[in-house]
Symmetry: C2
Subunit: 378 residues, 2 copies
């Protein structure tokens, strides 16, 4: 084995950037493959490969330079991951796991086969009629792209036949097959990070995620739920990750229904926005445990350092430079941590950074973090 | 003002590396000037300048690319800092401050002029006799290089006339004038980080530093001292930084004597080994406050998150690669944070990284950190 270990990440966005920082702190090298040069992660390493998995030459160079490979999104066709595996390099998560997650219909079938509770769903083909779906799932229901959906892109809520037609037309442009899902009238959206190696499995605390316009806006850690529900959520999250043969780091999104049931919403085979708080709030961040799990190394403690943590996403408020004009103003809020992702350009609603605050009481730190978020001009 | 701010650091070692990481997390750009390519900090930025302050062309390019400039050691002749200032770019700490710190004799005179307590000292010229020094300072005394001393290099303890002659011969090779200092029979060595802008001054907790062979081995935060002594130490540390007109981040080393007096030992105009624990242990690390102070921005909270923190330096145990052979073994110690600096080569006694542990009780976390340090093979 070479002394210095090089970890390859497919993708160079903020998730790769924060994993890179955790890896670098421990002295590992990181290689980044991303379509454009100077990506949030690519700008932090000399091992920057510009191109994508469909460029055989670039991919070959990238693979040869890495000891192990991971990824920051689930949108890479698992056949490419298989190719990398066939070249002899380990990919975590594996092609098999990605194949069970990236098509949400298959993901849901996989969970159903293991009797893991989730919203009822059905396949939607070209000839599927509105009435058939209503008969199966009731109204309203969700129409979803099977692949490539994120932050609300690729989803539509259907209340009537006309909605159905419009949604199908709209989602067709995304070149993905569709499926329909029962609408869940939830009381809270929850999430858990799960990290797993061949030897260990660990969960981070259950958090509440608050979405606005289908994008995660705030995360409250831990979620204000009973210990019984928290235990059940952790149990189901672990079961879900085992169901997809998952090794590595996973975000598990869930619904807590008004009746107190937990339904798995979605799995993400990578660091997750709901786990950003762990950088400041836990002994070992999701990003460090991402790196540890990819290497098959012992996991770090997922315990929180303080009783409460909040994370607020910094979403672009304007078109223009990807750096805030008024950092000096933002930093007046003494004990919040500001993360800016180094994206070249901002646009309205784009994830540009995040703010974390930790402390003893959720309310007090939420106030601070919200104040900082309100001020920032990015 | 350009939207993205570029902070230049003179030097690319571990202190620059950790300052860079804090800057990057907040979205700033960092430029590194270092003699060799691929330095611990240089490897993390595209803005890597290879050369030194005496290379006019490189320095000019570097200065032009930066909005503000700082440094990671006090060994750069302050005349170079003056030149940068004359080019119109701000340097924090300023040439004036560096001129008052980098020559330890001048540093001690500056503190004495402000009546800040420190060990008695005197100049040593070519014709200074052993008896003259003994008469003034007693035995033993220390003979020190006025400039370029660190980690015990440039110091010698003198017990007799023969020691004196040997020490003078040895220290002469360092091409620095000498001075002598009264030997302090201390009960503890203490240190404090002070950070100061035009508007604010803040101190981190007083810590105890434990040296082995003149190199900082362990840091205990906070030091086990009375609140009165802690207050006095903070008061003197701030006074010392004001005495050198210090803006930016400073390490202040002190002795606590057996009689309970505090004597200032040395000032360092930069992040300091005794402040590494702040990365995990404080709301805002010394490195983040370094960056904030260099920009003249509001300072972050210097408060500790947990009651106790310890830091242990990872010193090279062998010659060879600068990366541990057994990271997987080291990471078994669940809740310690391992920092490896990315130096290409290790050698016995070289600072290769550090370990931090935080918690409720010093004893328990010290045990964990020591265990991890014992295992690591670097």
């Amino acid at each position: 084995m070479r002394n210095k270990i090089n970890i390859g990440i497919l993708g160079g966005g903020q998730l790769a950037r924060m994993s890179l920082m955790a890896a670098v702190r421990m002295g590992f090298e990181v290689s980044i493959l991303e379509k454009q040069e100077g990506s949030p992660a690519g700008q932090l390493t000399d091992n920057e490969y510009t191109g994508w998995v469909d460029d055989k030459k670039i991919l070959k160079n990238f693979i040869e330079n890495c000891d192990v490979i991971t990824l920051e999104n689930e949108f890479i066709d698992y056949h490419y991951i298989e190719k990398i595996e066939k070249s002899g390099k380990k990919v975590i998560p594996s092609a098999k796991t990605i194949s069970l997650i990236q098509d949400k219909y298959i993901q849901k079938e996989t969970l159903r086969n293991k009797k893991i509770p989730a919203a009822k769903f059905m396949s939607v083909e070209c000839d599927t009629k509105f009435e058939e779906v209503v008969k199966e799932l009731g109204l309203p229901f969700l129409l979803k792209s099977r692949t490539m959906g994120y932050d609300g892109y690729g989803n539509a809520t259907v209340y009537c036949d006309e909605d159905f037609k419009i949604a199908i037309e709209k989602l067709k442009t995304r070149k993905s097959k569709l499926f329909a899902e029962k609408f869940v009238n939830f009381s809270k959206e929850l999430a858990i990070m799960v990290v797993r190696t061949e030897k260990e499995i660990a969960t981070y605390p259950v958090v509440e995620t608050v979405q606005k316009d289908h994008i995660c806006k705030e995360v409250i850690a831990p979620a204000d739920i009973s210990p019984e529900i928290a235990e059940k959520a952790k149990y189901l999250a672990k079961k879900a990750i085992r169901a997809v043969d998952g090794i590595g780091l996973y975000g598990v999104e869930m619904f807590l229904t008004k009746e107190g049931a937990i339904l798995i919403n979605e799995l993400a085979p990578r660091p997750h926005n709901s786990g950003h708080y762990t950088i400041e709030a836990c002994y070992t961040s999701q990003f460090e445990n991402h790196i540890r799990s990819v290497l098959g190394y012992p996991l770090g403690s997922t315990e929180m350092i303080k009783p409460a943590a909040v994370m607020i996403n910094i979403l672009g408020k304007r078109e223009g430079e990807g750096f805030p004009e008024n950092m000096d103003e933002v930093l007046k809020e003494k004990s919040v941590a500001i993360h800016i992702y180094g994206k070249k350009k901002s646009r309205v609603g784009r994830k540009m950074g995040h703010i974390t605050a930790i402390g003893d009481k959720t309310e007090a730190i939420l106030k601070k973090a919200r104040k900082a978020e309100k001020i920032i001009n990015i």
